[in-house]
């Protein structure tokens, strides 16, 4: 019986590859948009503009304080009530971007805070503009603090992408669901799903660990 299931699983394996591809596509696209948005928000969060800081603070807390599943449902089922219809794929990207950027914002803001105050004062004293201070002096140093947790956040993003299967995105998790209805061997099917997620996440985990080690020992020298 098990052998039969395995041969049938091999038959539907191309479907798993498609699901894997979709998971990677959703994760990768939202990873890019979330990173861009998260950095912008993080830089603004450490600016002197109080209303802007507060607004971003509210946004971050709101996103961090609600389940991702609820955010996905809100975007996919509640927005249409206001006349905004989205296909599952763009809805998934939007939800992941909003969620990811809120976390990345905090990582970036913390990294910027960790740069000694004297660095900014030195940059100010030579007449660099705010943007130049951030770009040439603050961010390059903050990246040391930002990178390890940022890569860690990417791992979470890949895993959280499984949630968008609920709105019909044909990702790895959804392929698993559909398959298990034809091949009632959950252990086997979701074992395979898990292995495929792991294959994507593990290199990232290793990268995060390596970055963390490197950043903690690395002095600024050759």
């Amino acid at each position: 019986m098990l052998l039969l299931y395995i041969t049938r699983l091999i038959d539907v394996f191309p479907l798993f590859l498609k699901g894997l591809w979709m998971t990677i596509a959703v994760s990768f696209l939202s990873l890019i948009t979330a990173t861009i948005l998260g950095f912008l928000a993080g830089i603004c969060r450490s600016s002197r503009n109080m209303p802007l800081r507060r607004a971003i603070g509210v946004y971050v807390n709101l996103i961090r304080g609600t389940p991702f599943l609820v955010q996905v449902f809100t975007i996919f089922f509640i927005l249409p009530e206001f006349g905004i219809h989205l296909e599952p794929f763009p809805a998934a990207i939007i939800a992941m971007t909003i969620m990811g950027s809120a976390f990345i914002c905090e990582i970036v803001a913390a990294g910027i805070e960790a740069v000694p105050k004297g660095q900014r004062e030195a940059a100010i004293s030579t007449g660099l503009s705010r943007n130049q201070q951030i770009r040439y002096v603050i961010l390059p140093q903050a990246m040391r603090t930002i990178l390890p947790p940022l890569v860690g956040q990417y791992v979470l993003l890949v895993k959280d992408s499984s949630i968008v299967s609920v709105i019909g995105v044909m990702d790895l998790t959804r392929v698993g669901w559909l398959t298990v209805q034809r091949i009632p061997e959950g252990m086997l099917v979701f074992g395979l799903v898990g292995i495929m997620y792991f294959a994507v996440c593990y290199p990232l985990i290793r990268l995060a660990t390596r970055l963390e080690k490197r950043m903690s020992v690395e002095e600024y020298s050759l």
Binding site: E121, I124, T126, G127, L128, Y220, S221
Partner: protein
Amino acid sequence: MIKIRNVNKWFGDLHVLKDISLNVALGEVLVVCGPSGSGKSTLIRCINRLEQIQEGELIVDNLNVHDRNINLTQLRAEIGFVFQQFNLYPHMTALGNVTLAPIKVRKMKKIEAEKLGRETMQKVGLGDKVDSYPAQLSGGQQQRVAIARGLCMRPKIMLFDEPTSALDPEMINEVLEVMVNLAKEGMTMIVVTHEMGFAREVAKRILFMDEGQIVETAPPNEFFTNPKHKRTQLFLSKILSH
């Protein structure tokens, strides 16, 4: 060059600068000393607006520093500032440190800026260290790079905030030497320091501050041999006793 009129500043309830008035002429070297917490660092940090003042007027090279509409970039480009903790950019080489502002603020071409940077590094005695990172340099060398970073903007004024206080004793002289040369070239300088040897050699006036007030201003000779104020005498007896 610098005109300070009735300046007051508070940190919350703490009155850190009390009705300060002071003129510094072109080419003058003014040494500011006083016990810690007397407001001397705050005073020079107000001059390039690292700190805001609440009352009074501060004019540098005909620019009203605390005017809302002032072009801060222009102001700060004319004022070099050297910090106690050097504050070099650790991710850049010495040359990168000294050329960043000339390239980004003065809009110099990279080649020109690097030429200027090498010359200036030569001037502070570090011509062979242009490619070193701050972490590879000693404290004294780092502080000299920091001075070079200020000089590369070709400023009209240099401000020094306890430039030798974070240094090991054997490195103090190499930094002071650079500052002495600078003074002799006619740079307008305000130096917050307790290096009385330096003050005696190059200062035109010494200003003594305590509790946010200017207690006494006098030429070095008079300041050391005949201080008028009790608090100055007490301070001098403490720092000159050994």
